[in-house]
Subunit: 129 residues, 6 copies
């Protein structure tokens, strides 16, 4: 996902579109009138720098993010964006559910439950069985 001649901004925009899809673009749009520079940092740092690094696959990266946001339990909108992102890069519904159930061990049952119900909502929006 790296191209030496591509700027961090271009690389990040491409990565965000490929990974987060429409859910990611909605966040960028919502920032337009409050903090447009923050969109640039999301593109450049989060996606142009971090997600574009070669050392870890995108499936693993999204499992890590879904796990962390489920465990932290205080970022519901971002968790939903990354449940979508996980599906976009090939993580299966079952793997998402397994990741969340496992978080009961590390962050307690409430965190796992709230993650599972977020997943249920995203799966329903995408009409997944």
């Amino acid at each position: 996902m790296n191209d030496q001649n591509e700027s961090r901004l271009e690389r990040g925009k491409r990565a965000l579109a490929a990974i987060d899809g429409a859910a990611g673009q909605n966040v960028i749009d919502a920032l337009e009138d409050i903090a447009p520079d923050f969109s640039r940092y999301i593109f450049e740092f989060s996606f142009g720098d971090i997600y574009s690094r070669p050392g870890l696959g995108l499936r693993e990266r999204e499992i890590a993010t879904v796990a962390a946001l489920t465990a932290m339990g205080n970022a519901a909108p971002q968790l939903k964006v990354h449940i979508e992102a996980a599906l976009n890069v090939g993580v299966s519904k079952d793997e998402i559910v397994e990741t969340m159930m496992q978080m009961a061990v590390y962050a307690g049952f409430p965190a796992a439950l709230n993650g599972l119900f977020a997943a249920k909502a995203v799966f329903a929006e995408r009409d997944l069985p």
Copy 2:
């Protein structure tokens, strides 16, 4: 990792030994004189139930746990146990480092830094280059 004739306790003991190794056994030993039943729950629920489920690979499970504990930032001893566990199930040093750097995006740079320094300590203890 499932065997219908094996009890949850036996299955959990086998899974904990295979995944956490000596670091896991140290935790069990330390519980002996304060809360031995809690060891049983770790064996039965965490390892006999959750880690023994077939829907997600052990590499992905440990990446998820390392991500969550790094992001939560309040469980240093357990993070070190799971850096070891990740190495034990085939996650590379580089993948652990990548997972932790990614947590800067979701939980901030201090959480990522403290994770990286825990990894540095574990790698040194295991004499990894």
Copy 3:
């Protein structure tokens, strides 16, 4: 609450019904199509193992849970379930309010306020004066 001939699942189902009542059953129902196994773990581990242990009274257990969920501040639906559970096992409205006010000392005024407003909502739903 222990019966040697009862399975963990049966014991947990009985304990959850007695403690959490309808609010607990709603959680179980909502899990049906996303993670039915997780219901089993709630029954078996949370209620069949932990809440069924003899060493601490149910009143104390629910005060502990209400305190913890108020302090953590990131599990609003589960806090409401346990405000109901506390009432079900004989914790008074006043004791719930006292527990939450005390959390201002340990987790700050916002956590205590959000707990108090959750209690206000539950009391209103149950038509308590």
Copy 4:
């Protein structure tokens, strides 16, 4: 803001009105039928004791509170009250936005994003451009 002949309660009421304005009074009103003593502690301790101390300016105090509540990410209603309070004591919209973007470094992008969207909502309610 200190007057030796003023009680902590009077001093706190005056400080809360000056700093939090209508948003603070709404919280006090909502506590009336659930925990009126808690209002007294908010007046006396939070505002009569802490905010009335001379060693730090009100602008700095509100920047500190907005930063902390944004970083903690689990107290959305109180964050909105303090975005209002920050505006009331002379923190500019831009300074609030800068404070929140900075929290991405210490608590991650989701915490910063949720802070920015809370600010966007408050600015819109107050009809700020």
Copy 5:
């Protein structure tokens, strides 16, 4: 524990001495040269106001505090002070251990484990079997 003619400060000092004992006094002493006013707030608000309220017993109050600090997992020194305080007001070793094991359900196994090991250290310091 209320005496109308006693000041909040006197009442708080008496309550802190009775509940936290030497461990509480150590905290007060350590604050002497950095923030002596903060000692006053601990006496007045935490102990003179909150712990002196009649609506909840001291045993329940300490169980609530031990539960919350175990679940939050980021205040090890204060958790140890309150394990001592719990013992001082008549909570048994077993009840403390039960409270901590229960936190595995709400805050995860690492939080419970770190609580149990803090209890083990306190029990050892006090030479409890």
Copy 6:
């Protein structure tokens, strides 16, 4: 602090040296053999992007960071670095202490206490009265 012809990396290195001083450089040095790219992100994003933005003064930025890290309560080493940084950019000892005491209102007394004791340690290391 912006110079159009300066790279983000150069700008960030200059800002980190000016703000965090030796304490910041120690972090960079410790990352050398585990995650050198992460040092680059700290220079480029945290200091080259965020701290170099003109919309908020450095004093306010450090008060915000000290407040957030004190409230979060899970990043002790970084809190100490930023107590030093606050002193470096002109925040007084008293203002740091006030910021921390205020965090008792938003994150509880344990978080404030642990912040105050971190400040006491840093002041002692720097031989401040």
